[in-house]
């Protein structure tokens, strides 16, 4: 019984930690208007009119965008332009961009 409670407790904690790391907290502090302004920097290259050479990101999942930006920021994904762009973004700016691009039509 004690063993079961202990396992249950561990499982719940893992779940919470997992959610804490990978889910909504990444989008905390998102500010739509700020995202709209910041998106200007992305739209020079990322447009839904073309996927050639540079991916279209309009309408992409917000979490997907946020995670990608964090990977570029940590230099875990390659591409000098994206690493540079992401290195200059803080958590709130990443979250704002993520929800803004998610709101755009594909």
């Amino acid at each position: 019984m004690v063993n079961f409670v202990f396992k249950f407790f561990i499982a719940i904690s893992c779940l919470l930690i997992f959610r804490g790391l990978l889910a909504e907290p990444l989008l905390d502090g998102a500010d739509f208007d700020y995202g709209e302004y910041l998106s200007g920097q992305c739209l020079t290259c990322h447009q839904s009119s073309s996927d050639e050479g540079i991916p279209a990101i309009n309408g992409a999942e917000a979490l997907y965008i946020a995670k990608k930006l964090i990977l570029y920021k940590n230099k875990e994904l390659e591409n000098e332009v994206m690493q540079l762009v992401a290195s200059a973004l803080d958590k709130e700016q990443i979250a704002s961009l993520a929800i803004y691009f998610n709101s755009l039509e594909k």
Partner: protein, 422 residues
């Protein structure tokens, strides 16, 4: 407070003029007015963003001399045979159809900054609450002895939007076997720092295919240039022995050019060319000079907003501005336009103004599938736009990476032209 009182005064003034002059159609003119001069990388972007993001709350007029904008970016790829000419031309139709921008195809002749009016070639005047000038560059024809407006058909600069690059391409294609192509790049500061060297690469690309014994001589008024190591390594790799670059210290200075004899005289020697591309020094487009917002050849700006230091109602974008660390590029002009658009909306409609963020990347093509790039992030310092971080391609990166960089530049071209004209 200052801004607020100015704003209330503007709306009061607008309301009263419309009441006195045209009571029947006063609703439209009650909106604050932005006039943008120049529909290039800076101006088209600014007009589109102000109109789009204000959702009709601001009346935007774009004054652009040409019906079509042929991008200088990728004009070198046209020269090299990688693009056709039509693919670098863009119309302004969507700006009016999709965003309600009032596009006027005319020249802006003068600015009366006290009355806040722009006079057009047709004689009409357009009044503004805020004026955005993005006229690009004017060529300083007299900066090289012997060069002139007339000389440009013989020794085209092809450094402005338009058909000169077609003339240049035809000249390169009909160059005699084993002939000489001479390039005189401009002195600093100038539009598109890597541009002359991408142009040399593209000319070399054509000559290698059609006229492999031909030579290219670069008579540079500078001693170093953008992405120099990358370009020179690329020339050696793809066009061995074809390109000779002579720096200023070696030739001792360009004394004059002669379009009749096709000669370029330096302290060291006189070079005779079959085809010559001569790019003189440059300055801000004449309308910026006329508006009284320049100091010397360019317009000093307030980094946080792109307002000119001379007049807070006038913004200057792109090549015409002194953007300090930011190069004069289409990417820079587009980036600056968004900072200005956000600031102008804030001033005129009380929308939120966010801190300025600037960026630039310049891609260049050295040979088929051999793309290189240089880029940076910038922030608004008190006095100047300052670099935050930067990168440049490496000389030893593999072919796959170079091909990817070229493909990325195609994505950028599609992106920025959509961002300007859709």
């Amino acid at each position: 407070m200052n801004n607020l009182s100015r704003r209330s005064f503007v709306s009061f003034a607008l309301a009263s003029t419309s009441l006195l002059a045209m009571p029947a159609i006063s609703t439209g003119s009650a909106r604050p007015k932005v006039v943008v001069v120049g529909g290039g990388a800076g101006g088209a972007t600014a007009a589109r963003y102000i109109a789009k993001d204000s959702k009709g709350a601001i009346d935007v007029t774009l004054i652009e001399a040409s019906k079509h904008y042929y991008t200088c970016f990728y004009s070198n790829l046209y020269l090299g045979g990688f693009r056709d000419y039509d693919s670098i031309g863009h119309s302004y139709d969507n700006l009016s159809a999709n965003h309600g921008v009032n596009v006027v195809h005319d020249w802006a002749i003068s600015v009366d900054s006290a009355a806040r009016k722009v006079r057009l070639g047709s004689g009409a005047t357009v009044s503004y609450d805020r004026l955005v000038l993005s006229p690009g560059i004017d060529i300083k024809y007299d900066s090289i002895d012997g060069y002139s407006v007339e000389a440009q058909t013989k020794m085209p600069h092809a450094w402005k939007s338009g058909t000169q690059v077609k003339v240049l391409r035809d000249q390169v294609l009909s160059m005699p076997k084993g002939g000489t192509f001479a390039m005189v790049p401009p002195p600093n500061p100038y539009r598109c720092p890597p541009g002359p060297y991408e142009r040399i690469s593209m000319v070399a690309h054509i000559l290698k295919e059609r006229n492999p014994t031909a030579k290219i001589v670069v008579i540079d008024p500078k001693n170093k240039f953008s992405k120099q190591g990358l370009f020179m390594a690329g020339w050696e790799k793809h066009y061995p022995g074809m390109v000779e670059w002579i720096d200023n210290d070696t030739h001792g200075g360009i004394k004059n050019v002669n379009p009749e004899t096709m000669e370029i005289e330096t302290d060291l020697d006189t070079f005779k060319a079959d085809v010559a591309c001569v790019v003189p020094a440059q300055r801000a487009g004449a309308i910026a000079m006329n508006a009284g917002v320049t100091d010397g050849d360019w317009s000093p700006i307030v980094p946080a907003s792109m307002q000119t230091k001379a007049d807070g109602n006038i913004y200057v974008l792109g090549d015409a501005s002194v953007a300090s660390a930011m190069p004069k590029s289409g990417f820079s002009a587009n980036s600056q336009a968004k900072v200005a658009a956000n600031h102008i909306r804030g001033e005129l409609t009380d929308s939120r103004v966010f801190p300025a963020k600037f960026s630039n990347t310049c891609w260049s093509l050295v040979a088929t599938n051999d793309g290189i790039k240089v880029g940076a992030n910038y922030k608004a310092g008190e006095e100047k736009i300052e670099v935050v971080d930067k990168f440049v391609s490496k000389t030893d990166e593999g072919n796959a990476k170079r091909k990817k960089t070229y493909e990325e530049s195609i994505g950028w071209y599609n992106g920025i032209t959509t961002d300007m004209f859709s």
